[in-house]
Symmetry: C2
Subunit: 192 residues, 2 copies
């Protein structure tokens, strides 16, 4: 494939959640073609105390980062207007995903569900099925990615790479803002 010769950006997408946290890793080339690297769901036990659920989630995310070494992490942006009980758990899970990125010296970004849908399907109000269908087509999967959290994580990763890629510098060079580059360097140095 021609696309394998140009530098590609490896992105970990995270659909944050305590009960099910979707994780998807893709390699995206400068020509926007993409390849599935890994997809999965991290689950934590609903009857476990919150502090140990968050610790289990962090451990699961660190395993994925260690195994696949992404250059960027994209996390779904959580809003406060939804179900109050659920949204706090989701917000805390998103904080854990961002933390795991930061501690690994990997720049992170958040994208809204509307941004993800628009980037992947061209339509910000697309339904879950349309998003899953486009993700499967782009990644040349034989079946729709399951469960929905895993598909959402892949869509987030694609959205991130494509939105970055639309900047003048291209996806590989444009992955970090200057502030992220400075902090990522500092974080890596501190861990040596």
């Amino acid at each position: 494939m021609a696309s394998s010769r140009v530098p590609s950006l490896r992105v970990l997408g995270v659909d944050p959640g305590l009960t099910r946290c979707g994780v998807g890793v893709v390699d995206v080339a400068a020509d926007r073609s993409a390849r599935l690297v890994y997809v999965g769901v991290i689950r934590t036990e609903a009857d476990a105390p919150i502090e140990f659920r968050l610790a289990a989630l962090a451990a699961g995310l660190r395993d994925v980062v260690r195994a696949h070494d992404p250059a960027a992490v994209a996390v779904e942006r959580v809003f406060a207007q939804h179900n109050r009980q659920t949204v706090m758990g989701t917000a805390q899970a998103s904080g854990i995903a961002l933390l795991v990125a930061g501690e690994a010296g990997i720049p992170a970004a958040t994208h809204t569900p509307t941004e993800v849908k628009a980037a992947v399907t061209g339509y910000g109000a697309a339904d879950k099925r349309q998003v899953q269908t486009m993700v499967a087509r782009v990644l040349r999967l034989d079946a729709l990615p399951q469960p929905a959290d895993a598909a959402d994580a892949l869509a987030l990763a694609l959205c991130h790479a494509w939105r970055r890629g639309s900047s003048a510098a291209g996806p590989a060079a444009g992955a970090l803002t200057p502030a992220q580059q400075r902090w990522a360097d500092a974080e890596r140095l501190a861990r040596r």
Copy 2:
């Protein structure tokens, strides 16, 4: 002091925040008398990317846990009805505090601002000044704890110990639920 002869519970209170995170450690005896162990504020740079702010917050909290070895961590419960932009950062910071507790095998609990005010002043609608005054009196401080985030963290820690202490088993024995005990043991074993 008679109170120093009975077993006491060491509690870390955390008033979660990204810009300023209040932390306070107290020893609380079975007779409800309390001693200040440590109080401070963890700050992160407002212009740093969120993933590195959360990493800096986690590092600061881990330092406090390492230095003072609390038996319990109390975190202010965050609600979604406040300012949406701020509340997400606060929710993420509270997730980091809970994570740091879980990863250290320390049981955590959340308390609402109303519960904290009621426990410390006897009045759930008390204002910040009344809470600070009572905290200073209980801990026999010469001045009001400053800034407000630090006072809130101490109030949280006192609230946690006193609410636990009102159970039949007393503060030392009653600090963990059975589920927390099981998970704390598992977390500690996994880290050996």
